[in-house]
């Protein structure tokens, strides 16, 4: 009886998944395959076979630099988001329900505004005459306005705010499930607040951090609008490069190489975090 039931369930599951599966096949897997073929083509008609685009991309230190810059941008954004996310998450866990709702709203706010608006708002904040520089000048913390636009620092600051919900939501979800009496137990056993965080809260929140870090990394490395608008022409990352090659230079095979590279780079980053997760689980 149970065998028949499972057989039936399996059949139903397969058919239910079919529409989405076919959609993915037609609009995700197929284009990806075309992209891969394109990267080995001579021109944008998918004609011929050539390693020229790959050789040009990886042979040129400038393009290798772009790959490295993109990966570094992802890692630095993950690091900075982590640094700011943990205090907020700890505050959230310690707050009452009213403050929690308010915090959650503030955290979610970046997701509720359009990327373009958020990014231009950051231009208003980061520019030489912007809010941040005026505040720093007024406080006497700097004598000349800082150059934040078109710098990696400015970009990371903007990305951090934009990506913060992606880090915070999984982190808060996991930290909420941690029994609050574990912190109490640590404190009662003589553990300082810092020790309690390092030895108890941090290890137990790792699954949430890994999920958040994965999302932030994938999102920061591919954040085309923020990278272009705040980074400008001076900072080139892979998404910008792909856009230039595909839409301005019209070198589609080369754009395809950059695309496949970006895809692999992001996947590598994501699997790195997943591996960290497995490592944490086995040692935890």
């Amino acid at each position: 009886m149970s065998g028949a039931a499972t057989g039936e369930t399996a059949g139903v599951e397969w058919r239910l998944a079919a529409p989405l599966g076919l959609t993915y096949l037609a609009f995700f897997a197929a284009p990806l395959l075309i992209l891969l073929v394109m990267s080995f083509s001579v021109d944008d008609n998918l004609g011929g076979f050539s390693l020229a685009a790959w050789a040009k991309f990886w042979g040129d230190p400038f393009y290798r630099g772009v790959v490295w810059d993109t990966l570094r941008l992802g890692l630095v954004t993950v690091a900075m988001t982590t640094l700011f996310a943990y205090p907020i998450a700890l505050l959230f866990i310690a707050s009452g329900p009213g403050l929690q709702r308010l915090l959650l709203f503030i955290v979610l706010l970046p997701l509720l505004t359009s990327v373009v608006i958020r990014t231009f708002a950051w231009i208003a904040i980061l520019s030489r005459e912007g809010v941040l520089n005026q505040a720093l000048l007024a406080l006497g913390l700097t004598t000349a306005p800082l150059n934040l636009l078109q710098t990696e620092l400015g970009l990371v600051i903007a990305l951090m705010q934009i990506e913060m919900p992606l880090m915070l939501l999984p982190l808060i979800t996991v930290m909420r499930q941690v029994d609050p009496s574990l912190s109490d137990a640590s404190r009662a056993l003589g553990g300082s607040k810092w020790r309690t965080f390092r030895k108890v809260i941090l290890p137990l929140s790792l699954p949430g951090w890994i999920a958040g870090a994965t999302l932030v990394f994938a999102s920061a490395t591919t954040a085309f609008i923020s990278q272009t608008v705040i980074g400008g022409a001076r900072l080139v990352y892979l998404p910008t490069l792909i856009w230039q090659q595909a839409m301005v230079v019209y070198n589609w095979p080369f754009a395809a190489v950059a695309s496949v590279t970006l895809l692999v780079a992001v996947l590598a980053g994501v699997s790195l975090f997943a591996m960290l997760g497995r490592f944490a689980r086995t040692t935890a």
């Binding site: 009496s181 574990l182 109490d184 137990a185 640590s186 404190r187 009662a188 003589g190 300082s192």
Partner: protein
């Protein structure tokens, strides 16, 4: 009262704990109201009460997780109010055990020792000693999730005791255990508490727990201690109707004081029976009172006297070694009579017509509560 046959380890000294007029309010609501309690060195006191009576708040104040609104916590002549939890040297066993899930049993037990900066060798030795104390040798490398509830509790105890605390706080430690295991763990905790000469506070809503292991019980209600006394005193001489109703089961009878002698009062019950009740509380003839009596202090009989209540027997239930009779007076008052059951005895033994006080019965008088 540490038993004389269990010698204390030399470095352990029992220390008294005093709560001095502690009050605590969460915003507007008063959770703890002027509680004063002296826990003697080596004594185990149970804070017993329904949820929301302030017992858990009081425990968290002693541990230092909450700063009380007013009052002082004194451990061995030292006011500890300004000390953070990690410097109070208080051991806690939580209801959920709160074992660190990512650490092994040994790492859990060593946690407090490492936090105190003990050497690796000391930690190893103490962990081994504590595992032996709670009879969990051979489980050192297990993770908490691989242990049963009772085993987790033993580890939680070992972890709390490894740092040689001055005070042991037990927060509903048996609530998550099934009934058979509960008694074993109660005995275990009592044994360790005596062996380590610990001054201990047990927070519980379960009167059986409190009765079985506490030296004294503080019954709490609405942030106050209603009565503090030995388990027997609390059971036999409840000072308030709340304590009377909260501890054990008991029958209430409304009545009027007819005569007042020297500490003994003649009380006429609504059913017409006249009871002679001893009471330390003063009453005057004409006072409306409530007389309470435990079911096991009543007996069913066929003979009517001045002190018997005419009843009809509705139902008899054999509950283990007891037989519980559900009876009703002519006026419709229902109450219970308990008798020890003889094996083989028929469940409904007789058509009893009256209910009388047992020879050893000690009814308790309370003023009739307003409305």
């Amino acid at each position: 009262m540490p038993s004389p046959d269990l010698a204390l380890p030399s470095d352990l000294q029992s220390q008294p704990l005093t709560l001095d007029a502690i009050s605590h309010s969460y915003g507007e609501s008063l959770a703890v109201d002027q509680v004063t309690l002296e826990v003697r060195a080596g004594e185990l006191i149970a804070l017993l009460g329904p949820s929301g009576c302030g017992k858990s708040t009081l425990l968290r104040i002693v541990a230092g997780f909450i700063n009380q609104t007013s009052g002082r916590v004194v451990i061995a002549d030292r006011v500890v109010d300004t000390l953070p939890p990690n410097r109070r040297e208080v051991g806690i066993v939580f209801q959920s055990y709160a074992l660190f899930p990512h650490m092994t049993v040994a790492e859990n037990i060593a946690y407090g020792l490492e936090a105190r900066g003990e050497s690796k060798a000391t930690c190893r030795e103490r962990v081994k000693e504590m595992l032996a104390t709670v009879r969990m040798e051979g489980f050192a490398d297990r993770k908490p999730r691989q242990l049963s509830g009772g085993q987790q509790q033993r580890v939680a105890l070992a972890r709390a005791l490894a740092v040689r605390p001055r005070i042991l706080l037990l927060d509903e430690p048996f609530a998550a255990l099934d009934k058979n295991l509960r008694l074993d763990m109660q005995i275990e905790i009592k044994r360790l508490q005596r062996q380590f000469g610990l001054t201990a506070i047990l927070v519980t809503h379960d009167q059986d727990e409190a009765m079985s292991i506490a030296d004294r019980i503080a019954v709490m209600s609405k942030g106050r201690i209603e009565q503090l006394g030995s388990p027997v005193e609390i059971y036999d001489q409840p000072e308030t109707l709340f304590v009377n109703d909260f501890i054990g089961s008991s029958n209430r009878f409304a009545g009027v004081v007819e005569s007042a002698g020297e500490g003994t009062y003649g009380v006429r019950l609504a059913s017409g029976a006249l009871w002679q009740v001893a009471s330390r509380k003063p009453f005057a003839p004409g006072d409306r009172v409530v007389a309470t009596i435990r079911p096991e202090q009543l007996v069913l009989t066929d003979q009517a006297t001045a002190g018997t209540i005419p009843v009809t027997l509705k139902l008899s239930l054999p509950i283990g070694g007891e037989l519980i009779h559900d009876v009703e007076t002519g006026a419709g008052e229902a109450f219970k009579v308990a008798a020890s059951r003889r094996p083989g005895e028929p469940v409904s033994p007789m058509a009893a017509t009256h209910c009388a006080l047992a020879p050893h019965a000690r009814p308790v008088l309370f003023p009739q509560p307003a409305a």
